[in-house]
Symmetry: D2
């Protein structure tokens, strides 16, 4: 059922204009600043699919990043406009897993690939071992189970 497959594929893209203050002494984007762009993408994803920090917080949770992997393919620089793509990866239980790719807009050349894993933590600071109900419902709604 290809329609289903498309349905399952939750994606978003944000456009980032590199800031002067994000470039380092080598005139490349400082490698730590890409984490801001990934977070921009996560927030845009959350707004698009109803999984934003506020909705999560209202359910009593925060979702810290517990694992992150980045592969830097090519440096971006001051005049670059970047496409930051985020894709939700279905997984069992209470994990939120995203894959990311960043391209230069002008030539679609690859800048970075990355992955993050987030877990649910109560606002009191305790990791949630099971999958919160509201997140199980969210996954059902978007056919991610």
């Amino acid at each position: 059922m290809p329609e289903m497959n498309i349905m399952n594929n939750l994606k978003e893209t944000v456009i980032v204009q590199v800031r002067f203050s994000e470039v380092d002494a080598l005139r490349m984007v400082w490698h730590g600043n890409y984490l801001r762009y990934l977070e921009d993408a996560r927030e845009a994803f959350g707004r698009k699919y109803g999984l934003d920090y506020r909705m999560i917080f209202d359910n009593g949770y925060i979702t810290p990043v517990v694992d992150m992997h980045l592969e830097y393919k090519q440096p971006a620089t001051m005049d670059d406009i970047l496409d930051v793509e985020i894709c939700y990866r279905a997984a069992k239980g209470g994990k939120i897993i995203f894959d990311y790719t960043i391209y230069k807009q002008k030539d679609k050349s690859l800048v970075l690939t990355a992955g993050t894993i987030q877990l649910f933590m109560t606002v009191e600071g305790v990791f949630e071992p099971s999958c919160p109900n509201f997140y199980a419902e969210w996954k059902r709604k978007w056919h991610q189970l």
Copy 2:
């Protein structure tokens, strides 16, 4: 009474090693990053004289910066170690005013002078028009009235 004058002069100095990530494409400290160094100095001052954010918060307040003035005299760069001096300036009412000077440690040449004004705001987000009692007491203790 000179002893008094010395007493009145509340000062602290912090040493900052410039980070690679704080330097911009021109290999100078990005002008916005000096605000981190000034904040380092404010926090060290607070720890030294018992006017730290936690003590203030426990009294029901936060103290946002409402006014800031910076004069950049000379760029600092990657190999520089900086002395950041902070000096409390006595003022009437519920204001916290600091003056700052930043020097290169190696030759004591001037990098920046700055001033900040902070006001008291309740944790509910309302500016406090009068001087909180605990701050009036703090000023008395340190002969700043």
Copy 3:
């Protein structure tokens, strides 16, 4: 000559979505992060009026900020979208002076006013005492003399 006055009034506005990573422990934009927004505005101004860092650099100069004054009127927070307005202020000689105002887009309430002064520095790091020719020409072109 009102047409002239309008002509003289060089302005630009950029829209900034506050990032999660720009908000501090008090859930307000950390006061140092506004300097990024002001720089966004300066860069947009430069692109609009042909006074960008690259054109300046190709003429042998950089233009460090040497003086900055900020007045914080109201904290911005995570869900805010901000209008950052920049206005060029005509001045004699080799100074670039900008005034800024930042508003919350939703209610046009004032968040910050600021001013910056930039000077010309050769790429070798020496401040230029006189007004570079290309900048004098730029001012003439835009009726800023």
Copy 4:
């Protein structure tokens, strides 16, 4: 030869005081700011063992991070002082590989583990496929071959 093993084990530790501006709206260190601490550790390592950016640059190279993996074990917060340990991992060819662990100083509880891979790039921006001579010599000197 245990002496050799100890010799081979190149390590450094830096102490980081968490800054107010590095903490996010949840009063935890924003996950991207740990990359600053890792870079602090890399720079301290470089100074200790003579593999700093300046020596590398004088040899015609820069060493961008091309791969980074982070596991966040526990959030650090505003009052924390952190020990950031960096350990060089011997590898064939022109790779610089480091492992990191970050602890809270007060109770030695684990905050983060991480690994980075850096490659040599010429200052013209081309990745170096082979191992530069000066790096091969550095490895020999420190018994890392």
